[in-house]
Structure formats: structure tokens, C-alpha cells
């Protein structure tokens, strides 16, 4: 089952939204917190609605609406989202107010918008989409499950399309809490140097990305999603390697068929060791690039990677931002994304030219 990506839109820490140029310049961060570059929303969303929306809702709704517009789809047959943490800012606003006012009645807006399905629901409400609507909150496999749900829907229904998205936001509270847990580098340097020195910790990231997937091709397709799979807490590197090998052999794919591997290296020594081992065994000798120096590390970063991979296929070019050494292949047909989030959820997403 192939899914045709007829549009891909992301708001990220790079200038990716409504930018006809594909990562031609890189936004440099010297802190360990990468923040999305937000557009002027008034073009896309009614200003009266914008006021009530938190940052993640605005970023996501704007991306979703732009994605539908780009694909020339008014109402999709389904909306599926994935987010590990959901609407964190609204959660912490309501939580803080509840504690501060000792459970006295307060305004319900933040509570209402803290619900994990708020984004899928807001998009449905704005475009009056009465179809299938689902939200996954599966940690580092949230976007992958949304994508898998979308692929299954496309297989179940002829001639249909699905709007699928992945999003997570950093809040001041989440950044402090996750920093205290030791996730990020103590001495941050430029994001451009993320992979240059071996040290503990990564850089915090965020983003919202939406895709319009269809089971029939169109003239505007960027690429296709051939397959998505997740695997959970492999006991050792052999189990990881075996899972990847099975994924490839069941689809009759050799490593030499894969033109580019996008890996989820995040600059943390222990985290990145897994990619190094896999790239010297089951995925050896495949040209590869990293992406988390551009968007930071977060549970739904693979949505950014799919945006990146599908644009690489469409443009048949790898931007300089990815520090890629030129390869001899003239056409990039197959791109494999391999990511793991804290060695809990691993995922493989296979993209191909249409």
C-alpha cells in the first residue's frame, strides 16, 4: 500500500513555512532550546480565534490549513494527529491557576484546550470535517501511529485522502523539567556543531507538520510513503538489527536500493551509539544525513523528517544544511528514516519517488 504525499507543510525552528526555498539558509541557535519560527497567522486563521489559541494550536492549525490548501483539498476523509505531550501550555496554565486559586472556579478555556485531541478537533471544526478523527499520544511513536492509522484508512477506503500531522511544543515548564532530567547539553554550542563533539545530552526542539496523503496519485505529489513501522524497547542491538532486517526483507528491499538514510542522531553519545552500530551492520554503506540540528529533539520529530525526506525526493537534491557529501547517484528514489526516541520507541518510515 502506497500513500501519495500531495502536500507537506511544517512550522519548525527553521524557515520552513511558506518558503519556496528548501532550507537554503540555516537558522543558528546557540542555546539548547530551538523555538519555532512562527508566521503571521492572520492570513490563515480568523484573528478572533487566534487570540484564544495557544502556540501549539496556532502552529498546528495554520500548518493543517496550509497543507489542505496546497493539496487543493477542502475537506479530507479523515484527520489524524500524533502528539506526545499535547497542548502543554494550556495544561500548565490550568494546573497553575488551579493550584494558585486553591481549586476555586477559574476560567475553563485552558482546560478545554488542554485536551489532547484539541488540534484535530479545531481543524475539523474550522473546515466542518465530520469524518474520522483520531489522536495518538504514544510518546516517541505518536506521529508514527498517526501515519500508520492513515495508511490503514487509505487501504480500507478506495479513493480517499487523510490529513495527518505530528506536533509537540516546548513550554518554559517542560524545558526546565526535562533539563532537570538531564536530557539536554549542559554547555550548549551552536546547533550546527551538534554532531561534532561527543557529549551527554541533546538540544530541545519542537514543531508542527501536516501531510495530505491520498491513495491515488496526483500531479502535485512530492513523494510516497511506502511503509511505516514501530518497534518497542528492543532488548539489545541484535534485536534492533533483526527488526530492521525483517522490515527490509519482507519488502524485498536491499540496502543498495536505499539512496539516502535519514537518521535520528541527536548529539547525545549514548543515544547516537545505536545509529552507529546499525550503520555498520544492517544499514551499512547507505549514504546518510542527520536532521535534529535543524529542529531539535522531540518525540514527534519524525514528522519533520518526513517533510525533509519528501522534499529531498521532490527536489532530487539534498540541501547544504544537511552537510551531505555528494553522491554519485543522479536520482534519489528511496529514502529511509530510522529514528529512536530514548531507545523506547524505534521507527522506520520508507519514502519513495512516485
Amino acid at each position: 500500500m502506497k500513500a501519495y504525499i500531495s502536500s507537506a507543510i511544517t512550522i519548525s525552528p527553521q524557515k520552513t513555512f511558506k518558503n519556496p526555498l528548501f532550507l537554503d539558509e540555516v537558522e543558528v541557535y546557540t542555546d539548547n532550546r530551538l523555538t519555532c519560527i512562527e508566521p503571521d497567522y492572520s492570513e490563515a486563521i480568523d484573528p478572533r480565534l487566534i487570540r484564544r489559541m495557544s502556540r501549539i494550536i496556532k502552529m498546528s492549525v495554520a500548518s493543517a490549513l496550509a497543507c489542505l490548501k496546497e493539496a487543493a483539498v477542502a475537506i479530507p476523509d479523515a484527520i489524524v494527529t500524533g502528539t506526545a505531550y499535547g497542548c502543554l501550555e494550556d495544561t500548565s496554565v490550568f494546573l497553575s491557576n488551579m493550584i494558585e486559586y486553591s481549586e476555586e472556579p477559574i476560567t475553563p478555556t485552558a482546560f478545554v484546550q488542554s485536551t489532547h485531541n484539541t488540534i484535530g478537533a479545531q481543524v475539523a471544526l474550522l473546515i466542518k470535517c465530520r469524518q474520522y478523527n483520531n489522536t495518538f499520544v504514544s510518546g516517541g511513536a505518536s506521529f508514527e501511529n498517526a501515519l500508520l492509522d492513515a495508511m490503514m484508512l487509505l487501504a480500507e477506503n478506495d479513493n480517499s485522502n487523510v490529513l495527518v500531522g505530528g506536533m509537540d511544543e516546548i513550554t518554559d515548564m517542560s524545558h526546565i523539567v526535562l533539563s532537570r532530567m538531564g536530557l539536554y547539553k549542559r554547555k550548549p554550542a551552536s546547533n550546527l556543531d551538534l554532531f561534532k563533539t561527543a557529549s551527554k545530552g541533546t538540544i530541545n526542539g519542537e514543531g508542527a507538520a501536516f501531510f495530505l496523503l491520498a491513495n491515488k496519485p496526483s500531479s502535485r505529489d512530492l513523494a510516497c510513503v511506502d511503509a511505516v513501522t514501530t518497534f518497542y524497547k528492543p532488548t539489545d542491538i541484535t534485536e534492533t538489527a533483526n527488526y530492521i532486517k525483517t522490515f527490509l526483507t519482507t519488502r524485498a528491499i536491499n540496502c543498495s536500493d536505499i539512496d539516502l538514510l535519514i537518521t535520528g542522531n541527536n548529539g547525545d553519545t549514548k543515544n547516537d551509539e545505536i545509529y552507529a552500530q546499525i550503520q555498520t551492520s544492517v544499514l551499512a554503506d547507505i549514504p546518510s544525513v542527520n536532521y535534529k540540528h535543524l529542529c531539535g529533539e522531540y518525540p514527534t520529530s519524525t514528522a519533520f523528517a518526513v517533510w525533509l525526506g519528501s522534499n529531498i525526493i521532490k527536489n532530487n537534491a539534498i540541501p547544504d544544511a544537511l552537510n551531505f557529501k555528494p553522491i554519485s547517484k543522479s536520482k534519489i528514489n528511496k529514502v529511509l528514516i530510522y529514528n529512536h526516541y530514548q531507545n523506547t520507541y524505534h521507527s522506520l518510515i520508507l519514502l519513495s519517488s512516485c
Binding site: 506526545a84 493550584i99 489532547h116 471544526l125 510518546g139 511513536a141 505518536s142 492509522d149 524497547k233
Partner: protein, 399 residues
């Protein structure tokens, strides 16, 4: 693709019982679980009746085998999922790919609230162990690890319809040959965040809730967890016991009307119910019992009722809201009610809708006020309607 999916195991914990047998006993003898709040530390304990599970965190930790410092949501999930998994008696079959699809609306927020009290005074304070399982996905992982399930793990969150969508997703993973067996359902614990959230929305009844009553004043919250074990016909043939029933149809639709309320004409619930019937290949008159979403709020009951009136017209099946026993358990409700729907088929019983005095005048039907038994409950429809317009219906059928 159209492989049937069967229910071969079930587990539940709620305000009316710590396992399926206790819940069934309470449902048949009218044992209601809504009371003053005893376990959750909140200023509303005397004012807002709720259906807590009648066990402390310490008691739950003894039964679940999890640390008493872990989220109550995880312990409730563990107990019900383990019951379902043991009930299915399926582990001994070699080579099965097993999934765990769980749902929750608030995950580990019962612990985050404690963390935040200290954190808000000083950002260096608050025990990290109280916030590490904040997200719903972490709760699922804790339970999956203890169950020893790892082929597919995922978590759904679509407000009050969450566990219906977890069950639907689980069934589809089987149909697409991604797994052979799935434990699917949901969990939520009573917590201050949710209790205060619903209180600010002014949808909580300060008395005992009266779903589908003309004088209903709102809902009572509850807590708990409910799971089904689903599998294919091929695996059923390898089991010693017959399946309880089949999950014969399901449908997910969105009302697209308002963020927190459902359309008065019940478009979303209508689409969900009629879609589920069509998927099951059934006519409205084939349904013998509807387990209503029936929260007891003005809005829900008028919307769900309008959809039922439109779809069933003169063929009204028996119906009841078991939330009059368990309160509204949010992300767990469709899982718990899927277990109750299965019990209705297994035992040939239609549960009553407690405290119904004056049926809603807008409709020409009324839920059941007394328990009734009929040997042939063939098809049961279970509804879930949530924030964000998320409406899902499930159909269970006798096999």
C-alpha cells in the same frame, strides 16, 4: 480485510467493583458506586459526588504489583489489563504477535499536580519521579512492560471517546495483519485537574447524576479502567474456550459543531451509530440493547437522544446509561462499557438506568428503569461522545 474480530478476554475496575465479576454483581443488584470523594485530596470532596475505585493507592499497588508512588492511572490500567489478559488465556499459544492499545485523557497528571505544587514555589523543587510519567504514553508503557507485551504499543486520546477509538484501532491492527492479538481499552483516575476542569465548565451534578432524566443536572465523574482482548478467527480456533462475542462493527465520526458541546440534532452520534450498524451489516431493528454514552449533562443527552430518535424511530431497543452506576470514567468509559456490553450478551441481561424518574419529554423513548433478562441479546451498540466532537460507536454481536 473483512476478517471478523472476536472478544476473548475482558477486565474492568470501576467504582462498582475491582474486577469484572464484582462489576457484574453490582450492575445486577443495583449497587451504585457514586459517593463522597474519599481517596483524592481535594477541596470538593464533600460537594462533588464521584465514583472512585474503593481502594487506596497503597491497596492498588499491592494488587497491581506497581510502586505505590506511581500514577493511580497506571495501577488501574494494570489491574484491568492483567485481568483481561489472564482471562483470555492465550499466552501459551506460540508465535503470536501481541499489541497493547490503551487510551487515557489525563495520563499521570494525578502525580503532576503534586509535582506542580512544589515546582510553582521554586522551579528546582518537585520530585521528578512525580512528573516522569505525566504523558499518557508513559502510563501505557508501564503496563505493557509488566504484561510482557511489546509487538505493538500505542496510546489514543480523543477525550471521552478515547477507549472506543483504542478498541477500533486494535481491531484494525488485527485486520491489517499487523498483530494477532490486542489488549485494547482505556484508563483514567480521578484527579484534581479533571475534576476542577469539569467543575469550571459547570457540568457536574452536585447530587447523584440522572442520565436521560428531564430534570438532569449534569454528570458525576468516575475512575477506572476497562480492556478487551481481541483476536482473529484463526487464533480463536486455537483457544480452548469460545469467544464471548464478536466486535462486528464500529465507526468514528466528528460532530464538527463546537469544542465542548455536541450538536442539538446529534449529527455526530448519528453518523457514528449508523456507520457502526452499516459496518456490522445490521439494521436498527437488529439492535437489542444500547449502552448509552448518557453522561447526564443537558447537552449530551439531548444530542445523543436526538440521534437515537432519528436512527431508530419506532424500533427503539432497550437502552441504559451505566454511568448512573460508575460515573463518567472519561478515557476509560468506552473500555468499561465495552466490557458491560459483552456481559449483556454473555449473560442475557439489560442493565438499568438508575434514578430515572421523569424521562426526557423531547423523546418518545425512555431508558430501562429496571434490570431485565432475555436469553437472546444478540447485538449491543455502545456509544461514546467526547470533547472536540469525537463520536465513536461499537457493535458487539453474539457468535
Amino acid at each position: 480485510m473483512n476478517t471478523a474480530v472476536f472478544v476473548v478476554g475482558m477486565g474492568a475496575i470501576s467504582g462498582i467493583g475491582n474486577n469484572v465479576a464484582e462489576c457484574l454483581a453490582a450492575l445486577t443488584n443495583g449497587g451504585m458506586g457514586i459517593d463522597k470523594i474519599k481517596h483524592l485530596p481535594t477541596n470538593h470532596s464533600e460537594l462533588l459526588p464521584s465514583a472512585e475505585v474503593k481502594l487506596s493507592n497503597y491497596d492498588l499497588s499491592v494488587i497491581s504489583g506497581l510502586s505505590p508512588s506511581i500514577s493511580r492511572t497506571a495501577m488501574l490500567s494494570m489491574i484491568a489489563a492483567q485481568e483481561a489478559w489472564d482471562d483470555a488465556d492465550i499466552k501459551h499459544i506460540p508465535g503470536l504477535r501481541t499489541g497493547f492499545v490503551s487510551a487515557s485523557t489525563a495520563g499521570g497528571i494525578d502525580k503532576t499536580e503534586n509535582f506542580a505544587v512544589d515546582f510553582l514555589t521554586d522551579t528546582r523543587k518537585g520530585k521528578l519521579r512525580d512528573v516522569i510519567n505525566h504523558d499518557s504514553g508513559s502510563i501505557t508503557n508501564i503496563v505493557a512492560d509488566k504484561l510482557g507485551i511489546k509487538h505493538h504499543i500505542s496510546t489514543v486520546s480523543t477525550a471521552c471517546s478515547s477507549s472506543a477509538n483504542a478498541i477500533i484501532y486494535g481491531a484494525r491492527l488485527i485486520k491489517h495483519n499487523i498483530v494477532d492479538v490486542v489488549v485494547a481499552g482505556g484508563t483514567d483516575s480521578l484527579n484534581r485537574f479533571t475534576l476542577n476542569g469539569f467543575n469550571t465548565l459547570m457540568v457536574l451534578d452536585e447530587q447523584l447524576c440522572k442520565p436521560f432524566d428531564e430534570n438532569r443536572k449534569g454528570l458525576n465523574l468516575g475512575e477506572g479502567a476497562g480492556y478487551l482482548v481481541l483476536t482473529s478467527a484463526r487464533v480463536v480456533s486455537l483457544l480452548k474456550k469460545a469467544p464471548y462475542c464478536a466486535l462486528s462493527g464500529y465507526f468514528n465520526a466528528n460532530d464538527a459543531y463546537h469544542q465542548t458541546s455536541t450538536s442539538p440534532n446529534g449529527d455526530g452520534p448519528y453518523r457514528a451509530m449508523s456507520g457502526a450498524l452499516a459496518a456490522a451489516g445490521l439494521q436498527p431493528e437488529d439492535i437489542d440493547y444500547i449502552n448509552l454514552h448518557g453522561t447526564g449533562t443537558q447537552n449530551n443527552d439531548i444530542s445523543e437522544g436526538a440521534a437515537i430518535e432519528r436512527l431508530f424511530q419506532s424500533h427503539y431497543p432497550k437502552m441504559s446509561s451505566t454511568k448512573s452506576f460508575t460515573g463518567h470514567t472519561l478515557g476509560a468509559s468506552a473500555g468499561i462499557e465495552a466490557v458491560f456490553s459483552t456481559l449483556a450478551i454473555q449473560h442475557g441481561v439489560v442493565f438499568s438506568n438508575l434514578r430515572l424518574q421523569k424521562p426526557m419529554t423531547a423523546f418518545s423513548f425512555a431508558p430501562e428503569t429496571v434490570l431485565s433478562r432475555s436469553p437472546d441479546i444478540r447485538n449491543v451498540l455502545s456509544n461514546s461522545i467526547g470533547f472536540g466532537g469525537n463520536c465513536s460507536s461499537l457493535v458487539f454481536s453474539k457468535v
